[in-house]
Subunit: 463 residues, 2 copies
């Protein structure tokens, strides 16, 4: 970068940081709430005369890498290593339930253990019990790793807090942030490790611009284990506290490539818009109809009640459905140009959607049906008997030595095909149940009956 560009770049960074760095007020508020919660938990422990239990704030709040406007606290209740799982779950829940007294609202959830999610003074708090193992190689459940991650990042992140914030916000803006099964992108911890590894926000981008899928990164110097290499993920970042674990295993090929692509573009001409995607810019109905007509392809949407499950359960099933319906459409000669899946957020609606763009949603009445080679006499004879006088057959002839019959196509439009055979597609358990209840099909501009801005944004991106 020349000097002028560098200066512009630094000004831009400062501008972004000033928008995403928590304010002093936010910082104090977070510390207050954290203190209040931890004190309350220690009181419960004391009151119940429990021994050797400690409480600790983990996650981005503890590491000073959180973003302004996000108010999430992860508080871990750490039990002695030799506690039984039953005891940990029982006592952990008991303590957490006591804390709900000072919460505005709360919900019991379940990951590897049961845990509680609270709302306290506008903060979302996860209270999670875990085993306090002496060494990260001895963890008894995956959450036990978190305190070690916390420790590792805290000891290595000094001076790089803002770089982490910039990278997280950049990834958010371009849509690759988040390791949930919906997004298949970069987790917060991975972002922190990338900054530690490359030393700065811009160094991450400089290097990422030259990444190739299959790239392998590690902070230590040990050999990378065969297990990790055989995993063949697009990105491998060895967990510094667990050499058998790939921190980037969730990152899909396309999210990796989108990051590489955006890194190049940003370095070429840095601008604020990479950090703040234009939300709500879903385009109006007239614009969308115009685009659809100008493409002159066929559009069809399957819409049904969202299963009452979290995103991490719903999205993999949606993606599976997208794949199996695509296969079915193509088996019947409807060529899929593009597809995507989307679901309204729990609480904000109750629909799930799988969208398809087809080269054409209408096919001719006939199709060629190839039979066996004429010289395989028995097979040939059976085929001929079946088709040569069939009322749904057009003509019967020989091509490249094979019998061919032009038969009436069962489905000349994609909608009737889906009405008829959607239920035969391989679907996940919960979606299968929902589809068996009911589903609707929207064709072409009927697709715009779905007014949700997030859906409209996805649609407009695909046109």
């Amino acid at each position: 970068m020349d000097n002028a560009k560098l200066q512009k770049f630094n000004t831009l960074k400062q501008e972004i940081i000033s928008e995403i760095k928590p304010t002093e007020y936010e910082q104090i508020k977070l510390e207050e709430v954290t203190r209040k919660l931890i004190d309350h938990i220690y009181n419960v422990i004391k009151k119940r005369d429990l021994k050797d239990i400690s409480v600790q704030l983990v996650g981005s709040a503890a590491r000073n890498t959180w973003l302004s406007g996000t108010h999430d606290l992860d508080i871990f209740i750490v039990f002695p290593e030799n506690t039984s799982r039953e005891e940990l779950e029982a006592i952990g829940l008991e303590i957490a339930r006591d804390v709900t007294k000072i919460a505005d609202k709360y919900e019991e959830r379940f990951a590897e253990h049961p845990y509680i999610n609270l709302q306290v003074e506008n903060f979302g708090v996860d209270l999670v019990p875990c085993f306090g193992v002496s060494d990260s190689s001895k963890i008894k459940s995956s959450v036990d790793r978190t305190p070690f991650h916390n420790e590792y990042v805290k000891s290595n992140i000094a001076g790089l807090f803002d770089d982490v914030r910039l990278l997280k916000q950049f990834m958010r803006g371009i849509g690759v942030y988040g390791s949930e099964l919906k997004t298949k992108g970069f987790s917060g911890y991975l972002t922190e490790l990338l900054v530690i590894y490359y030393g700065s926000f811009e160094n991450v981008l400089y290097n990422a611009a030259n990444w190739k899928p299959g790239i392998k990164l590690r902070l230590g110097n040990e050999e990378i284990s065969t297990i990790l290499i055989q995993e063949k993920k697009p990105l491998l970042f060895v967990d510094p506290i667990d050499p058998e674990r790939n921190v980037a295993s969730a990152v899909s090929l396309d999210k990796l490539c989108e990051f590489i692509d955006a890194a190049r573009d940003f370095l070429e001409s840095p601008s604020k818009q990479f950090f703040f995607s234009k939300k709500g810019n879903e385009h109006n109905k007239e614009y969308l109809i115009d685009r659809m007509e100008r493409r002159s392809t066929g559009f069809i949407v399957i819409i049904f009640d969202r299963p009452d499950e979290v995103d991490d359960v719903v999205y993999p099933q949606l993606y599976k459905m997208e794949r199996s319906v695509t296969e079915m459409l193509e088996m019947f000669d409807f060529k899929v140009m593009k597809s995507f899946s989307w679901s309204e957020d729990v609480g904000l609606g109750n629909k799930s959607v799988v969208f398809f763009e087809l080269i054409t949603s209408r096919l001719p009445n006939v199709k060629k049906h190839f039979g066996p080679p004429v010289w395989l006499r028995d097979h040939a004879q059976k085929f001929k008997e079946k088709y040569s006088d069939d009322k749904n057959s057009f003509n019967f002839y020989i091509e490249d030595g094979k019998y061919v019959c032009d038969v009436l196509r069962q489905h000349v439009n994609a909608k009737s095909l889906l009405e008829d055979r959607l239920k035969t597609c391989s679907l996940g358990k919960h979606i299968n149940e929902s589809i068996n209840q009911n589903f609707d099909l929207l064709e072409n501009d009927e697709v715009l009956k779905i007014k949700n801005p997030e859906f409209r944004l996805l649609l407009s991106k695909s046109l």
Copy 2:
């Protein structure tokens, strides 16, 4: 076959034979004309004091395997082996020209040598000069083989004349008779050899019903030469007078299979219609339009002036055109369901036609254009620069790690594609010249502007 069926079969054979066997009058007439021509030639030879030249009738007329209604005579003028090619051509033509004095009309033609085609009293006569070699292994030009073929068949065909006639007529009826490049079927000589080999008309059919492509037949017991085996033709019948020659080399896979198929059908339920195809049954316009609409596919015909050449020159170029235009159409995503080529006979019109049936003749305005993988930075960058802001680009995105751009399709209908790019297709010399002069495109029911019954029959067979 049970007795009743056998009796019915024999009655049918007799009925067909009575229709196709030349009448006594035809037979006498043929002998008369032949005698007259041969006498005339010998007179010319005598008058000009030429030495060691003989004259001989060859072909089906000489072998008593000709069909009633066909009036073709092949008369060969056989020169001594040591005659030079120039002398043979000059003197051969000189003699033939003298014969034209008694002809109603005549034409000089050219195959391997110049020869003359005469019309005499309703007979079509080819007067062909050849070398009278002592042994079939010493032939100097391919026509020299004919007298040997003649000799071979005459010595082996005794008692099988009607069987040959039945087989020829059967092959005519089902459309596989003729080894010209238009038909790619069975020659008269091959038909005779098949009857000699299998012993009767019905035995040919019984055996053909179980043929498989790659079948190898020979009348002698010698090993089949490597050259012939490597040729890999659908049917191999070793020429009994030339072990290096495949009499069946013209037979295409589909004509072979059509014969196999018809043989089975005929043996299953013998009937007269196999022998006499319904000519002129081209169906009326309304029927054809109805069929075309019921198929709801796209039809397009390229029509242009037939090059002023014989079928054996025109048809290979038409077939080549059919293939290369199909490739071009499919390259632009127009999927060809069926195609055929056809040309009016010389003298009966002057158009050639290549016909295509397409799954659809209209495509959407956009198509996906795949670029390089994102990680091949230089290529990727070039592609992105070219397409991401192109005015003909719809959207630009990443799929399976590759850049993809939805671009405006150059040709959304097959007609405009052909108008624009037909001349870029690989065409034969003469068709290329004709196309460069002019061509027309007929779409859907415009195809019925072509009223020739032979074309209409081909069309109706394909619907």
